[in-house]
Point group: C2
Chain length 426, copies 2
Amino acid sequence: MRQLHFNAFLWGCGHHGAAWRHPDSPAERLGDIGYYEELARTAERGLLDAVFFADGHAVRDPAAGAWWFLEPLTALSAMARATERVGLVTTVSTTFSQPFPAARMLASLDHISGGRIGWNVVTSMFDAEARNYGLESMPAHEDRYARAGEFVDVALALWDSWGEQALEFDRNGRFADPDQVRSIDHRGAHFRVDGPLTVPRSPQGRPVLFQAGASGPGRDLAARCAEGIYSVAYDKDSAIGYRRDVRRRVRDAGRDPDAVTVMPGLVTYVGSTVEEARAKKAELDALLPTAQSLDQLSLFVQQDAHAWDLDAPVPPLPPLSEFTGPQGRYQTILTIVEKDRPTVRELLGTLAAGGGHATMIGTPESIADEIEDWFRSGAADGFNLMPPRYPDHLEDFVDEVIPVLARRGLFRTEYTAATLRGHLAG
Amino acid sequence: MRQLHFNAFLWGCGHHGAAWRHPDSPAERLGDIGYYEELARTAERGLLDAVFFADGHAVRDPAAGAWWFLEPLTALSAMARATERVGLVTTVSTTFSQPFPAARMLASLDHISGGRIGWNVVTSMFDAEARNYGLESMPAHEDRYARAGEFVDVALALWDSWGEQALEFDRNGRFADPDQVRSIDHRGAHFRVDGPLTVPRSPQGRPVLFQAGASGPGRDLAARCAEGIYSVAYDKDSAIGYRRDVRRRVRDAGRDPDAVTVMPGLVTYVGSTVEEARAKKAELDALLPTAQSLDQLSLFVQQDAHAWDLDAPVPPLPPLSEFTGPQGRYQTILTIVEKDRPTVRELLGTLAAGGGHATMIGTPESIADEIEDWFRSGAADGFNLMPPRYPDHLEDFVDEVIPVLARRGLFRTEYTAATLRGHLAG
């Protein structure tokens, strides 16, 4: 039977914007590699496919948190040594890096981890990041994707530049067979790279490629090369639509859609009762600095939300067709309001934890039901877990929800592969 | 009393060109991070200041060995977690990297290691490397050093962009104080970097800078910013001359010469008798592919060395004043021949292990004598150890020579500091 796949999306103290304000939060440990090693071990205890680091190249508001405290490639190396089986996925920007050093570090990590590395290919977004790399602002979207496509091609060629049998270790002869260590002599619009890579072929040959592009060019890049896709969908129907679209693009690119694992982001609050689960959300929601959250909400809905009663239901909102501001986030808000009938404070909390990502609140059984429903409906091949608060909410999922899914035959009961690619295929 | 300082210069299976051909060599483990972790633990057992990775960005002759198998920054992260006290120095090229990601990874490693990171600043050398980074050939020497100087300035500014008291973790207030997280707004000939760094201030504040430049601009860069200098000297007199010159430049740059640790490379063969030590060298020398080594020697001396008797003394060579080829290496050969009266095979072996670096062959006591003599003569503040064969020859030094130096009061008997900068100051 087809199996679910789970990644744990690591993100500071958790995906809820107020997570670091919780009394038990690991705020003081964000620069302590031991914290990330523990999260990776928890993910491994849950037999998850991988842990995953996003990445960014600019400081946001220091008063509101520290994003990107440790650099992901250096952190993942230590985490690889603290675990044995769980996959390790890192983001590397094709806009800010060069293919030779990126391919080199990823191959090195694939050796260090024994074949458990994945690369989330991103093109980055913010001008503040560009200004740390000599640019005035971000290159245009289509230029970024053109560069990304070429970047990936060069990386793949570099990973293949050492043949599988290249290393000989013949003490009376050759260390390696020069005929199996080949230049790539790439000349393109963005890069010139002669190769070969300095790193001999790694355990997976090629680290596993992930992509999260939502735009057309992003989806096409994913269709051409990704084995895992991180997507965004608040509700099952839009997840089904997204997955159907990317599977079509994968097929159009001449690849097998079943070889691509589509994983929407998933925020979960797990309790022994629904009330307990709701209380976990309410506890975090109560820690949000309201004035700031209402500022943001006012922007999203293009009206003054400060006048609203925090503990009353969200007042009626005009339909999308009458809305003149940015539509994506407004559509998500309409969906949340229609589906969940939240109070204003609950809405702020939902937006503060993963924003428009799927949110499931309930018992292990009820959340397993929802996950199974998404899975069987073709909305997802698995999920990119976004625990609102680390480490507790990851532990809740690993220790409470995973066993239910395993009993139903929807998730592994032990690792059967040694590599990340092996986990995704299982 | 002033103390010696030692780094272990990690280099594949050892610094002798035939090291990987030895029956016990770790050739098959060059992609196994466990091998490097073990070397770091051995260095730590010896209370050395640090282990050190050189770096390169192009494959050399694959038949003759694998250089740069693992990428050093990723390797050092794992090694940091396998050790507790020893420093960890990595090379990062200012020609091929950008200051923002380089400063970021080094700061991240400084957090991961608890303040044990050093950065060996290099400008790189080879066109084959440049051609993996979009260039046709290496930029001119003075352009590389101009870029290196600006690169270092940007990195230092980024490391200072988070104040020491920036992090507050005030759950009812601010995560960090925005006034202590400052942009650097660098605009220079080579780089534009706004900052601040994404990584909050690391345990050492600034990772420790090392430099190995032998040229004038290289020495001046070292004088301006390095706390450790890797140098090259086959004999004590040239080491004294080099150290005197860089100390003068450090003083001219307005810094205290005693705050800069000058460490010439040092190849050692340690035996319980001089004969046993010589036998260790002879064992490796015998593994050298002679035809290839004689090709190289013929180039160095500008005559056909293939006709020479391998086991007879090196025939008389014309003085430097009559020599028309490249002078540096020829001068080293003249020095070796004059000082050691080697056979041709012995000369090939000496050149194959560290080339023109100091070479000491003898008992723990005799080598300690030589080291003490260099130290007391002002030739060195310590040494960058280049064991001909890993791991055995590092173990020889750590277990046999270090205790002699410690008994003489010339080297620590325990770590007294937690950071690399603390080790160098001790």
